[in-house]
């Protein structure tokens, strides 16, 4: 049995209905532990004071925001190549989640920036490229909203997602070139060999990130399910109207 058989909406629905409850519990648990631990059971940073704790929301959301777009990119490719409705709908369902994550990253970042850099916003490359990412999310969702016929919408948005990704990467470099910023580089071990954050901060951060990851998966599965049900209702109604 191949993974593809879950490309069948009905099968997919059944599966997601099975796993969703556990996913909900797990993700919420992780997020809560991560945040609570991070907020209440870690010492204040000697330099940043208690403001450092915002990192437990900021970083995970930021990462998820990027990953969401990756996931959409892959889903779009699958739709274009194999034309599985589920993947198209998954991309559709992921977009709002990703956008919210982006907004959270932006807002928490801004809040953080006030004490750290003494400004709500600075045209730092990473910040800026996040703003651009936000714009891409906006356009993508607006396009979904603007087209009635679901299949055309799926096709168009997928192409937009591909082209958009290319330009997003380009923009990232452009922005870097345009302005070297004050935002610190990544220091997650997976990203770079050594780390700049001590374990005390790092463990809860890790948990929080896992939690956000799970939460993202949960939300996407959930939203995809909703989209599928909508399409199903639509199909049934059409059948009614026809016969």
């Amino acid at each position: 049995m191949s993974l593809w058989e879950y490309a069948n909406p009905v099968k997919f629905l059944r599966l997601s209905e099975k796993v969703l409850p556990t996913l909900w519990v797990a993700s919420i648990a992780c997020v809560c532990t991560g945040l609570v631990w991070g907020f209440f059971f870690t010492p204040d940073d000697f330099r940043q004071g208690s403001t450092v704790k915002i990192i437990y929301i900021h970083v995970p959301s930021a990462l998820m925001a990027i990953n969401a777009w990756f996931m959409m990119l892959i889903a779009s490719l699958i739709w274009l190549v194999r034309r599985h409705h589920v993947s198209a709908l998954a991309a559709k369902g992921a977009a709002p989640v990703g956008m919210i994550m982006t907004v959270i990253a932006l807002v928490t970042g801004a809040i953080w920036g006030q004490p750290m850099w003494g400004t709500w916003w600075a045209w730092d490359p990473r910040l800026t490229s996040f703003l651009i990412l936000f714009l891409f999310y906006l356009g993508y969702m607006a396009l979904w909203a603007a087209i009635e016929d679901p299949d055309s919408a799926a096709d168009l948005t997928s192409v937009l997602c591909l082209v958009g990704s290319v330009f997003a990467v380009l923009s990232r470099y452009a922005v870097n070139f345009w302005n070297q910023g004050l935002h610190q580089g990544t220091s997650i071990p997976v990203a770079t060999g050594e780390r700049t954050v001590s374990d005390v901060f790092f463990v809860p951060l890790l948990i929080a990130m896992v939690g956000f990851g799970l939460l993202f998966v949960t939300l996407v599965l959930y939203r995809t399910g909703t989209e599928i049900r909508l399409r199903r209702a639509r199909a049934l109604m059409a059948r009614e109207g026809q016969s």
Binding site: A122, W123, L131, A142, W178
Partner: protein
């Protein structure tokens, strides 16, 4: 009239025209400006009020060609012209709908974008006020432009050509209010001017628009 307003709002939302788009465009213009001018916050801060006004203006502009042209193309305008309600009412309602879907959101969004352009703290209140008073004028004047160009297919560019000069006074005084507000200077004169322009325009423009529209329909 109520029916017309409701319908226009409905269309604005369904056809992906309304609210969101104008805002997004506003946001983009601001971001683009930053890219174009460079990240230097002090410099950005100085041009911020002007740029915000410019962005609002362009966002209005871009949505103008939907105001009347759509109804003209599908014949709705002909039918409305033979309907009981006077064309003056029609254009006013259209302008109102345009303001609700475009102007109002811009007003609400302006402060947020002010942050992006590192607008001086005391500027936020005044840019909002200036836009709140100014944008209705933009919509009404814009509707006039739309009425003039309604015959021309995709007259968007021509439309903006006709309208932008008419926007100059509003822009100048509006930006002045915002700038002085940001620098904490006295600003009652420009404020009065903006309000004056808006009131005058609201009172008189609809007749001009209706007249022009009649010409275009025949």
């Amino acid at each position: 009239m109520k029916a017309l307003l409701i319908r226009d709002l409905k269309l604005a939302f369904r056809a992906g025209g309304g609210f969101g788009l104008g805002l997004a465009f506003f946001l983009i213009v601001v971001v683009m400006t930053a890219f174009a001018i460079g990240p230097n916050p002090e410099l950005l801060g100085r041009v911020a009020p002007g740029i915000l006004w410019l962005g609002a203006l362009l966002a209005c502009l871009l949505s103008l060609d939907r105001v009347l042209a759509l109804d003209f193309e599908d014949g709705s305008l002909d039918l409305l012209a033979t309907a009981p309600l006077p064309l003056e009412a029609v254009v006013s309602v259209k302008a109102l709908a345009h303001w609700i879907t475009t102007g109002l959101p811009l007003v609400l969004a302006a402060p947020v974008l002010g942050v992006l352009l590192s607008l001086p703290a005391q500027g936020f209140f005044w840019i909002t006020v200036a836009l709140l008073i100014g944008t209705p004028a933009l919509s009404v004047i814009g509707t006039f432009g739309a009425a003039i160009t309604v015959g021309i297919k995709r007259g968007g560019l021509l439309l903006s050509l006709l309208v932008l000069p008419l926007y100059v006074p509003t822009l100048i005084f509006g930006a002045e209010v915002a700038r002085r507000g940001a620098d904490g200077m006295a600003l009652d004169t420009p404020l009065l001017m903006v309000s004056g322009i808006t009131c005058g325009v609201l009172a008189l423009m609809p007749f001009a628009s209706a007249a022009v529209l009649r010409v275009n329909l025949r």
